[in-house]
Symmetry: D3
Subunit: 324 residues, 6 copies
Amino acid sequence: MPFPDLTHPALGAYRSSVEMPGDFASFWSDTLAQSRAAGGKVEMVPAETSLKLIEAFDVTFPGFDGQPVKGWLLLPKAREGKLPLVVQFIGYGGGRSFPHELLHWAASGYAYFRMDTRGQGSGWSMGATSDPVGTTPSIPGVMTKGVLDKNDYYYRRLFTDGVRAVDMLLDQDFVDAERVAVCGGSQGGGIALAVAGIDRRVKAVMPDVPFLCDYPRAVRTAGRDPYLEIVRFLAQHRDKSAQVFETLRYFDGVNFARQSNAAALFSVALMDDICPPSTVYGAYQAFAGSDKTIVEYEFNNHEGGGPFQDREQMKWLGKRFGMA
Amino acid sequence: MPFPDLTHPALGAYRSSVEMPGDFASFWSDTLAQSRAAGGKVEMVPAETSLKLIEAFDVTFPGFDGQPVKGWLLLPKAREGKLPLVVQFIGYGGGRSFPHELLHWAASGYAYFRMDTRGQGSGWSMGATSDPVGTTPSIPGVMTKGVLDKNDYYYRRLFTDGVRAVDMLLDQDFVDAERVAVCGGSQGGGIALAVAGIDRRVKAVMPDVPFLCDYPRAVRTAGRDPYLEIVRFLAQHRDKSAQVFETLRYFDGVNFARQSNAAALFSVALMDDICPPSTVYGAYQAFAGSDKTIVEYEFNNHEGGGPFQDREQMKWLGKRFGMA
Amino acid sequence: MPFPDLTHPALGAYRSSVEMPGDFASFWSDTLAQSRAAGGKVEMVPAETSLKLIEAFDVTFPGFDGQPVKGWLLLPKAREGKLPLVVQFIGYGGGRSFPHELLHWAASGYAYFRMDTRGQGSGWSMGATSDPVGTTPSIPGVMTKGVLDKNDYYYRRLFTDGVRAVDMLLDQDFVDAERVAVCGGSQGGGIALAVAGIDRRVKAVMPDVPFLCDYPRAVRTAGRDPYLEIVRFLAQHRDKSAQVFETLRYFDGVNFARQSNAAALFSVALMDDICPPSTVYGAYQAFAGSDKTIVEYEFNNHEGGGPFQDREQMKWLGKRFGMA
Amino acid sequence: MPFPDLTHPALGAYRSSVEMPGDFASFWSDTLAQSRAAGGKVEMVPAETSLKLIEAFDVTFPGFDGQPVKGWLLLPKAREGKLPLVVQFIGYGGGRSFPHELLHWAASGYAYFRMDTRGQGSGWSMGATSDPVGTTPSIPGVMTKGVLDKNDYYYRRLFTDGVRAVDMLLDQDFVDAERVAVCGGSQGGGIALAVAGIDRRVKAVMPDVPFLCDYPRAVRTAGRDPYLEIVRFLAQHRDKSAQVFETLRYFDGVNFARQSNAAALFSVALMDDICPPSTVYGAYQAFAGSDKTIVEYEFNNHEGGGPFQDREQMKWLGKRFGMA
Amino acid sequence: MPFPDLTHPALGAYRSSVEMPGDFASFWSDTLAQSRAAGGKVEMVPAETSLKLIEAFDVTFPGFDGQPVKGWLLLPKAREGKLPLVVQFIGYGGGRSFPHELLHWAASGYAYFRMDTRGQGSGWSMGATSDPVGTTPSIPGVMTKGVLDKNDYYYRRLFTDGVRAVDMLLDQDFVDAERVAVCGGSQGGGIALAVAGIDRRVKAVMPDVPFLCDYPRAVRTAGRDPYLEIVRFLAQHRDKSAQVFETLRYFDGVNFARQSNAAALFSVALMDDICPPSTVYGAYQAFAGSDKTIVEYEFNNHEGGGPFQDREQMKWLGKRFGMA
Amino acid sequence: MPFPDLTHPALGAYRSSVEMPGDFASFWSDTLAQSRAAGGKVEMVPAETSLKLIEAFDVTFPGFDGQPVKGWLLLPKAREGKLPLVVQFIGYGGGRSFPHELLHWAASGYAYFRMDTRGQGSGWSMGATSDPVGTTPSIPGVMTKGVLDKNDYYYRRLFTDGVRAVDMLLDQDFVDAERVAVCGGSQGGGIALAVAGIDRRVKAVMPDVPFLCDYPRAVRTAGRDPYLEIVRFLAQHRDKSAQVFETLRYFDGVNFARQSNAAALFSVALMDDICPPSTVYGAYQAFAGSDKTIVEYEFNNHEGGGPFQDREQMKWLGKRFGMA
């Protein structure tokens, strides 16, 4: 049974029932204010590579609470004026790896920043950023780290890192503040949605098969990890279900989508049993920006559109940012 | 091929080649001194249960760096004089759960304490203790949390909690300081070995199919998690192998065994592919105490001796602690 | 797709369509009469344990056709007057194991009897009771043993053992005949339902994630063994489907539930793919007694409520049996 | 690692260390005498088929203790004089199925009898023979049925059925008593070895990838069921290992091989992880008859030589029985 | 969840929505004409076997484009007049194997031909026929070989081989042209449907759990290979979905069924997750011949009715061909 | 057991026993001569991408027998003089995909060509090249396509394509004929070894975890596909083992290694169960060139060194080709 979730027409008709907390906006503005207040230092060190057409920098910037976060910045060596910016976030378990690995945005004339993911960076690619904060009892992985309290939840820190990355990049003179895009696949797409929902300076968001959307449906529909970390947690902490879903409302891509006015290019895979398509549609249909598009891949699982979607993105963003 | 590791006679002849760091003893005495200096408060609150023969207390005590750690204390309601003490540590991923679940030690006349495991307590039973400390990039689970530096490694905190539990219990007037035993299965056995290796007040140690022993062999022999968390970490952090094994020497059950003078009752399962039997033998053969025994279960995997070994323990300890 | 079966509201609305055979009551009263007539001897031998607060007896009693069946009887050493009784039956493949393993009922002041399961007792715990009766061609396991004829079916013998255990216990002077409860998880819950359906002396029944309910739906819904033993049987004996379901009507928890007037505390797990929740609801909704409650565990598979449900049971039964 | 067991040259050099019980021969002659004394009736009813070249009979004959056992007898419709006989036994879990399914021996001019397997006949083909005898606690399947006592063990009954089938067939006037062969794959091969070891009237035995050989090695080498039923039994009945292996000596193909003077054509598959090749070699090397051959299939698992080996058998037996 | 697809009543009510191409008939008549025009030689060489009642011939005949195709022809040695004919096609991955393996049709008085499958014959039985034609990029297996163009598709060649086999057999004087049947299981059933749809000389068709039916539903419903080869192809060739389904319409059992006027005996298994039952019903309901029957096996997966269905076929065909 | 093959010191001491056919060199020179004689046209069409720093060309060139083969050519837009060349071959089942996907060589100043793989290009990335040649009966996949005759074997065509790609590139004026390197991972590494073994113009070869080496050991050691395609083939074609290994000698990386005088940078993963490390060492130790290095990844399976090895290659080749 290749389709693990709704199919059309039920899929297109689906709307998420995630509730928006009354203090959602203030929770995030307070969080951000507190982290900005914490300050911290930005470092950009030229990275050693064999690349001759592209410059690479090893960047450290202050994320949540001023805690240091890493990333790679790639710039076309031959450049003039201010560049449009693409910030990419990374999928679950991965890290920023090496600068030579994802060159197509810089090779297309963009400033490109790949933000590392705190405490992850070990499962399928290597990271270099610590998460210095611990947790109440949790399931291996980050999905239930601090999940009993919205102030302790892991993703509060990670989403804040994402906005602080934009802060840091907008401080650079080579970045054109009118052409800021965020993107990512899976968890990276979830972070991109969050950043675009919190920060109005983001003009375009390109989430691919995004994770971290429509939790109440996702944990009851997904067939594989990481959403099932939450299921396993609740299988032991049998009395904590309400408390957990109360926290998750503050971190749900559906609620971030409701806040965003960026242009959006989503992609979704109809055989995806990690990020079930209805949860992606839940976020897409809730997305408040009027320039929004979704690309469907009927026969794909969580790998989604892969290089086909890269091409879609380069075309779609090029048109909007004058790079076509 | 049911046997995943050496069989006899090679198994009995195996000796671990783990190296003892020169500063092993001072590392642990410094760690302990620092945590004792941090102080902290002990609380014992009667627990609500339906039990009529056994009293249960919900205990909070200061563990590593004074951080609060939970546990259940069970005492026979009808008791006289000082009681022998059994402290049990818990397997990987579990928590202290409820007080009614493991009654045989208290029902046999012992003071019994089940220590919770910081930050775990979600995978197969519920815990209530936080681990407030974060981590460098790591694999889901605790095996690689802070593994790049011996001072940051997760098990530095957990093993210290174990010794601090003994500190707290020896302060209670119902405990007979001459009859202190520690035990546990798998990770619980690893903690028991560590506590018995650090703390000479422990008179008996009963590790069942112990985990956290003979890392260099274990990560190259185990067929299933959690040792393989380290393999997956090194599969990405391809340049960190020496650094990781340098840290692990300070947390290896083989080295703790070399320090201990307690009486010891080990058990080992010859079809165990989680804690390969050679790694258990590695610790057993290195164990310095002269009153030591190992019970073999030829046809068991990691479940080991189960209730058969419970009975062995009750008989063996009863004889040594005058409870037979 | 974590939910293998109906979810609410369809789940709550589901009613089993199992048919009640006209001679159901007489089939069971005849069976019981014949076994009682066969007589047999009761033996209670003190069991060797290290327990000091609880007395344990190794019991042999005459079950179906007078065939000897084993069990452990546990009594609080300090006791006065007649005790309320809890009889527990065991899950599929298990046996009575050792007396020290499940102490919470005796430690709470109950007489507690754990009945062994004939011919099983090898899969996950050890038993000591033979099933001297053979079978027509069958699938490994007991689900299709003698399934072509209701008089030959394995569960005719096992359910009769359960009632005969109550017979034997009510003959003991320490048991209060007005406070008799039966319980069990999975197969144990199915036996408990059967015994409470056959024997009106049972005042309370506590089936957890009960097995052996609503066969026609169960064999078409379960995702894992043991219900699938029946599927595999019918996959070869392609012409025997009607005959098999005719037999199973006499052994269906739904039909036993229709006969019972005990108080009932059910539990069900909504992600259970061994005993699908609709089959549990099938029995629960059919349960004839008016004091009935069901506890749901949304995020659990067949492990169900575990220690949470133990606590529910101790509270619920304590209230009804004056032990709170 | 496709080879689950020894490879050459170690494979060819391997000799089983199974011990021959002193009373092995008398155990079997007593068993047989007792079953022959029990008597019982033979029935041969023409079977309804569409076959025009072959006659089929539905046979019932007295097996162990006179208990009725079924089989199909196939004879070439056009026949003259006495026919050579091939008796085939069936693999684990299967039954005699339908007469039209295995025609090549009858179509080649042999009298062919396929004996049903008591109590099995449900797993992959359908049987019609009951096993009226029960069991001490056992693992699903027949490997541990009655395994604690050689007189109760399941295979005592099944092997006796095999010899009694030969008895019955030699009573028929169409059978040439000088040309009797037995064969079978896996469990069928094990039965064939047993029958040829007990009964000197058998002139040729053709075991393919035989099961039930060299138990002490088999249960420690096999990677899949059914040998592992014994491992699972011993994993719970941790104190019964010696008792179990004491029983198994009386049912070991290696010991039967030591008794046989028939001509033998073995086959073995070097990637077989159900019946590891060393256990087959164990029986082959012990085989006492001087006309013995073994055919190896290097790249096969338990399916062995399949139709290639059928052809080998027809050629090999044809030459010995004058049918080439 | 044992039922991977629709169950009754939805199953019986299902009708396939596969579209019939306007040039379907001409595509196949052109294909056939071209292959007949290519000519080629027929060879029938007596096969070496030990069979005494049945003659076997190793046949080579010209298939698609005159390319040589193999098969076994079996005839009752004792025969008179013209024989009814059964042509069997083989399941996915198999080959014709040896002549002694499937004797029941010949032993029942039929001329029986088992056609080899070009280029397969390696997965579960051995074949001897090449497919000399290559392919555009494809997934391992034949499902996507040449799938981008109906003229290049693998099954164009294989189905044509099937009709050419009938051509060849009708040229033989021992065949009764009024009694020609085709059959097969899985892929063999799909070929049988195709041949019966293309060639009106076929009087009876017996497809068991047929494959290659109702592709648009099949690739979205099947849980296991080989339909999923197409899913995997489209997962990479994300832009080729329309093109692939356009090709498949010319090879869909539903469309062949719409063309056929033979008598038909289908079988279907309701737990079949390789050839989902709705796709079989899709073909059955579309079947144009008026003498049609379907046999259901509720508790079987893709093994279907096995020997039960063999018996159904022998009875059903015997009645229609005067062989009862 | 994470290590599926030999470990050190046995691993380093291992030498392959593959035999070199006497006509190996002439077989390949004849093959090449014939393909060169077949001629064919080269096409280079600018590819549509958004890349601004790199030019991409869609190349078609004549491969084996002049059959058209595709590839992507990437050149730094800003370039001067002749460029060093890197030709990359692709792993099993993949295709050339899109030009934007692997940019690091062109971004480092090299001319970079990624050759498509005939008939594959569907399993994990998309290809565009047909293999117009068919096959004798084979297992799904290409490993047994035509394997019964060295002239028909699939890899004869694919390896020739590789040499013809070098022919085509050396005809371009932007390529420096003194600085030609070939590389690839897994199958790509096997092709690279073959091309470097056939064609002395290749100055550097960088095979990562190479496939297609030391077949006799590989098919008996690998734990996963694709080597096991050969095992499955021989499991059915039980009489073809010698014939298959005779063919494979002509396509074995060990024999190509014996012919090469290029500089070589190998990588090997010690937990690789697809391309077992001993088979890689077999080729490495046989490699005839004197400037050879092997990089080991102890804790990796077939993913090998990943981006770590990319960096090694850029450094190693940069030093040799004056690009550091």
